[in-house]
C-alpha cells in the first residue's frame, strides 16, 4: 500500500467513525423503534453529503472504484454503532454492482448524474434473496411496448425510499431469472408497509406488488444468477465487515460494563467465568478484523474464494459474540435501553444476507471441489 492509499484509508476511517459517533449514535434508539420505517432523514442526508452512497462506484462517478478494503473500513465503523445504516449502504452497493456486472455503466452513470437528490442515489434491492437458491415470485412478460412485470417482490430493502429498484423476475419460458430496473414512482407499483422484522429495523424493508409494471432489462435475459454470483463474490466481505462492527460494539460495551458492575463484592470482570466469556468475545472480534483485513487486501483469482471463506465464519461468530454481549450485562442486556439486544437481533438477521447460511457453506465447498 503506498502513502496515498494509506492516507485515503486514514481519512475514511476517521470520517466514518466521526459520522457514527456524532450523527448516527444520537438517533440509534429512536431509529430502532416500531414501525421500522427507516433512519432519520437527517442521518440519511448527512451520509449522502459525505458521499457514502457513492463509495462503490467507479472513480468517474465519484466513487472508490470498487475498493472492498475501503468499503469494509467504512461499514465496520458504522456498524459498530448501528448496523442498519451499514446495511443501507451495502444494499446500495449490491444494486450498483449488479448493474456493473451486467455492463450497464451508462445507465448507472445516468442515475448518479441526476443532481443533488438523495432519493435518486438510493437503489432498492432484495439483499436477502438469493436467486441461485429460490425462484423469484415476480414474472416478466414481453409485450409490444416492452417488458411488463407482475407479481410480488418480497423483502425489498429501502423499497419505500428509493426512486430506483433492481428486482429479479422470470420469463415463463426461461430457466433462469433476469434483472430489471424499475422506477418506483409508477402507478402500477404498490409498496407495502414496512416489514416487521427481527433486526436491522432502521434499514426499511417492504414487499412490493407489481401489476403490469414496465421494467428495463439489465444486462442480458436469463443471466440474473450469474450477475448475482459475481456480485456476491465481490461484496461478501462487506457483509462480514458489518458483522465485525456489531461484534466490536458488543464487546466494547460488555467490557465497559464488566469493569463497573459489582457482584459478589467485586467487579464482575474479576470473576474467571466472566473473563472467559470476554476472552472468547475478544478473540472472535480480533479474528474477524484480521480475516477481513487479509481477504480485503487480496486480489486476483483467490480474492473471491478467500473473501467467502473469511465471511461465513465471521457472520456465525457475530451471533455468538452478540449473545455473550447480552449475557455479560444480564437483565440490563435484554432491555432496549442498552444496545446489546439490538446487536443480538441485527447479528442474527445479518446471517441471512445473500441467502440461507447453510447453503452458502455448501456452495463454498462446491467451489473447493472445482479448485481441487
Amino acid at each position: 500500500m503506498n502513502q496515498t492509499e494509506k492516507n485515503e484509508y486514514k481519512l475514511l476511517y476517521s470520517t466514518s467513525r466521526e459520522f457514527s459517533q456524532k450523527v448516527l449514535l444520537p438517533y440509534r434508539e429512536e431509529n430502532d423503534r416500531y414501525p421500522f420505517a427507516g433512519l432519520d432523514q437527517t442521518v440519511f442526508e448527512k451520509a449522502y453529503s459525505m458521499d457514502f452512497f457513492h463509495l462503490w462506484l467507479p472513480e468517474s462517478m465519484g466513487g472508490l472504484e470498487g475498493d472492498i478494503g475501503k468499503l469494509c473500513t467504512v461499514l465496520l465503523n458504522i456498524a459498530e454503532i448501528d448496523a442498519s445504516m451499514a446495511m443501507v449502504l451495502l444494499t446500495n452497493a449490491m444494486a450498483q454492482e449488479i448493474m456493473i456486472q451486467a455492463g450497464e455503466m451508462d445507465r448507472l452513470s445516468e442515475i448518479y448524474s441526476r443532481n443533488g437528490s438523495l432519493k435518486y442515489a438510493l437503489i432498492a434491492f432484495p439483499s436477502f434473496l438469493n436467486p441461485l437458491e429460490m425462484t423469484p415470485e415476480l414474472m416478466a412478460v414481453e409485450k409490444e411496448n416492452g417488458v411488463r412485470l407482475s407479481g410480488l417482490s418480497k423483502g425489498m430493502v429501502m423499497g419505500s425510499m428509493a426512486e430506483n429498484m433492481i428486482v429479479f423476475a422470470r420469463f415463463p419460458e426461461d430457466p433462469d431469472s433476469s434483472c430489471f430496473l424499475i422506477a418506483a414512482s409508477q402507478e402500477t407499483v404498490r409498496i407495502g408497509d414496512p416489514v416487521i422484522s427481527l433486526g436491522l429495523h432502521a434499514c426499511p424493508t417492504v414487499d412490493i406488488d407489481f401489476n403490469e409494471t414496465p421494467g428495463i432489462l439489465i444486462g442480458e435475459r436469463g443471466r440474473a444468477s450469474e450477475y448475482y454470483g459475481n456480485m456476491y463474490g465481490r461484496l461478501v466481505l462487506a457483509g462480514a465487515a458489518i458483522a465485525a462492527g456489531i461484534m466490536r460494539g458488543s464487546f466494547t460495551d460488555a467490557l465497559k460494563y464488566s469493569q463497573s458492575r459489582i457482584q459478589g463484592g467485586k467487579k464482575i470482570a474479576e470473576w474467571s467465568e466472566v473473563q472467559l466469556l470476554l476472552a472468547n468475545m475478544a478473540l472472535k472480534v480480533r479474528n474477524a478484523e484480521m480475516l477481513i483485513e487479509y481477504a480485503g487486501a487480496k486480489s486476483g483469482k483467490d480474492a473471491i474464494h478467500d473473501s467467502i471463506a473469511a465471511s461465513i465464519p465471521v457472520l456465525d461468530h457475530a451471533c455468538d459474540v452478540a449473545s455473550d454481549g447480552i449475557q455479560i450485562l444480564g437483565g440490563y442486556g435484554y432491555m432496549e435501553d442498552y444496545s446489546q439486544e439490538k446487536r443480538y437481533r441485527d447479528a442474527q438477521h445479518l446471517q441471512s444476507l445473500f441467502g440461507i447460511s447453510c447453503l452458502k457453506k455448501i456452495q463454498y465447498v462446491k467451489s473447493c471441489y472445482k479448485l481441487a
Binding site: 422484522s197 427481527l198 459478589g264 435484554y334 441467502g355 447460511s357
Partner: protein, 502 residues
C-alpha cells in the same frame, strides 16, 4: 469457602450416585399414578387455551406492545383467570383445585409453543405462590390463596409475583455466600407490630398485574443472609408504588417492572418468614435462607426448562412446516439431507429439554417442595375429597401455630441435605439445558429459513427474541452452572471453594 452448617450428607460427591441419576426410577413406585391423568388434563386445557386465545393473538399482541411499550395485556390475564388457571395449582387445603405441581411444567410447555410471555403470565403467579409454600407460613398462604380464589369467582384477577432483584444485585441474591458480599439495599427496619421497608426492586415479572408482591428484604443490609425476611406487600399498601415498565427485547406480553417501597409498613401478619419465626429451630437463619431459595428455584427452574422445551418445539414445528412447503433449486427442502439432519437435531433438543424437566419434577416429587403432597395416602385423600371437606379437615393446620412449628421443623430442621442438593443441582442443570437448547433451536431454525425466518409473521423471530431471556432470569446460566457444580459435584468436598475466585 462453601459453608456446611446443617446436617452433613453422605452423598457421592461426583453427582453420579444412583439416587442422583435415577430420580425417575425411584419415583416409579412412589409417585401416585393419578398424576399422569392430571398431566394429560393440564395439557388438554393448555391446548384448548392455545387454540382459542394464545395462537390466534400472539403475534398481534407482540406487535401491539412493539407499538405501545406501555400496553398491558389485561385481556389475557382475565381470560386465564376465567379459565381457573390461577387457582389450578393451589392445594385444596388452601381452597384451590389442587393439581399436582408436576403438571404445571407440561402445561407451561404447551403454552410456550405459542407464546412464552403468556406462559409467564401464569407461571410467575406460582413462583410467588411457591415463595409462600417454601416459607411454610400456612396462615398467610391461606389468607392470600382465599383472595386469589375470590378473584376468580368475581372476575377480578388476583395475582402474585416474586420480587428479589435490585438495581445493584441480581446474581447476589440467590446464594447466601454471594449475598453476604453483595450490594443489597432493601432494608426492613423492625417496628412495633411489623417492619418499615425502604428499597427498590427491578425486573419484576407480572408486577403491573399483581395484587400481592412477595418481597425479599433484610433487617441488616450488612448481614443479609443472617437477617433476611420474606414478606407480602399488597398493591394498595401505603408507601408502595410501581415504577417504570421495562422495554424488553422479547416476552413482551409479560411486563417486567420496578417496585418502589418508601417507608412502607409491613405488619407481622404479612411476614412470610423472619428471624423471630425461625428462632426456635436448630437450623440457622442463614441456612434457612438457602433452603427456601433452593426450594423455590427447584420448582421455578423446572418451569423455565419446560418453557424452553415449548420454544424449542414451537420453532421446530414452524421449521417443519417451512421445509415441507419450500423448494430450493427445485428440490423440496425436506428431502435435502442437511435439512433432515438439522430437523433431527431440533427434535433431539425438544426431547432432551422435556426429559430434563421431567427428571427435576421426579426429584421435586421425591425430595423437594412437592414431596409432602405426593405422599400417596395424603395425595389420594386430597384428590378425591371435595375442596370444602379438605379445607375443613386441614383448617387446624392453618389456624393453630403449633402445626406450623411442626411443619417448619420437618421442612427446615429435618430436611436432608443431600435431598436439597439433588433437587437444586437437577433444577440448575434443567434450567441451563432447556434455555440453551431453546436458543439453539431458534438459531438452527433461522439458519434454515433465511429471510423468511426473520419476518415477524412467521413466528420464529419472536421465539428467538423470547428465548434469550430464559438464559438470564432465574439466575444467569453461568450462575446455574456454578450451582449445579456446588450441589452435585462440589458437595462433601471440604477442599472446594465457591464464589472465592482469585
Amino acid at each position: 469457602m462453601l459453608k456446611k452448617t446443617f446436617f452433613p450428607g453422605n452423598a457421592d460427591p461426583s453427582g453420579l450416585s444412583f439416587p442422583d441419576m435415577n430420580c425417575n426410577l425411584m419415583a416409579i413406585s412412589r409417585q401416585p399414578r393419578a398424576i399422569t391423568k392430571e398431566v394429560r388434563k393440564a395439557i388438554k386445557l393448555a391446548r384448548e387455551f392455545n387454540e382459542t386465545v394464545v395462537r390466534p393473538n400472539a403475534l398481534d399482541m407482540d406487535r401491539k406492545i412493539h407499538e405501545d411499550p406501555d400496553y398491558l395485556p389485561w385481556e389475557w390475564v382475565r381470560e386465564a383467570n376465567r379459565q381457573g388457571f390461577y387457582t389450578m395449582w393451589i392445594p385444596k387445603m388452601f381452597g384451590g383445585k389442587g393439581y399436582s405441581f408436576t403438571s404445571i411444567a407440561y402445561f407451561l410447555e404447551e403454552i410456550s409453543t405459542c407464546c412464552v410471555g403468556m406462559a409467564n403470565l401464569i407461571g410467575v403467579h406460582y413462583l410467588g405462590f411457591a415463595t409462600l409454600i417454601a416459607a411454610w407460613n400456612l396462615a398467610l398462604t391461606r389468607r392470600i390463596s382465599l383472595e386469589v380464589i375470590k378473584g376468580e369467582k368475581t372476575d377480578t384477577p388476583c395475582l402474585l409475583d416474586f420480587a428479589i432483584t435490585e438495581p445493584g444485585s441480581g446474581t447476589d441474591t440467590s446464594e447466601a455466600d454471594l449475598a453476604d458480599k453483595g450490594n443489597l439495599a432493601c432494608h426492613a427496619a423492625r417496628e412495633n407490630g411489623g417492619y418499615r421497608v425502604n428499597g427498590t426492586k427491578i425486573f419484576i415479572s407480572n408486577a403491573h398485574f399483581s395484587t400481592w408482591h412477595l418481597v425479599l428484604g433484610y433487617e441488616d443490609i450488612k448481614k443479609p443472609s443472617d437477617t433476611f425476611l420474606f414478606f407480602a406487600v399488597r398493591k394498595d399498601a401505603s408507601g408502595f408504588s410501581l415504577g417504570r415498565k421495562e422495554r424488553k427485547m422479547g416476552q413482551k406480553a409479560c411486563p417486567a417492572s420496578e417496585l418502589i417501597l418508601r417507608d412502607c409498613f409491613v405488619p407481622d401478619e404479612q411476614v412470610c418468614v423472619d428471624q423471630r419465626q425461625t428462632a426456635n429451630l436448630s437450623t440457622s437463619h442463614r441456612d434457612i435462607y438457602q433452603i427456601i431459595f433452593d426450594s423455590i428455584c427447584s420448582s421455578s427452574k423446572a418451569g423455565v426448562c419446560s418453557m424452553g422445551a415449548g420454544i424449542s418445539r414451537g420453532v421446530y414445528e414452524e421449521v417443519l412446516r417451512f421445509a415441507s412447503n419450500t423448494r430450493i433449486n427445485g428440490s423440496l427442502m425436506m428431502n435435502l439431507e442437511w435439512v433432515q439432519c438439522r430437523l433431527a437435531d431440533m427434535l433431539r433438543n425438544v426431547a432432551v429439554s422435556r426429559l430434563m424437566y421431567a427428571e427435576i419434577n421426579f426429584a421435586n416429587g421425591m425430595f423437594g417442595l412437592n414431596k409432602m403432597l405426593q405422599i400417596k395416602p395424603l395425595y389420594y385423600l386430597f384428590r378425591y375429597l371435595p375442596i370444602k371437606v379438605v379445607q375443613v379437615l386441614s383448617a387446624p393446620m392453618t389456624r393453630f401455630p403449633v402445626f406450623q412449628k411442626i411443619v417448619r421443623k420437618m421442612q427446615f430442621d429435618w430436611k436432608k441435605r443431600e435431598e436439597l442438593e439433588r433437587t437444586t443441582g437437577w433444577a440448575s442443570m434443567a434450567k441451563f439445558t432447556g434455555s440453551d437448547l431453546a436458543v439453539e433451536n431458534c438459531r438452527i431454525g433461522l439458519s434454515l429459513m433465511g429471510q423468511t425466518g426473520t419476518r415477524h409473521e412467521n413466528r420464529v423471530e419472536k421465539f428467538f427474541r423470547d428465548s434469550k431471556l430464559l438464559q438470564i432470569y432465574e439466575g444467569t446460566n453461568q450462575l446455574n452452572r456454578l450451582e449445579a457444580f456446588k450441589s452435585l459435584i462440589g458437595r462433601n468436598r471440604y477442599d472446594i471453594q465457591m464464589f472465592e475466585d482469585r
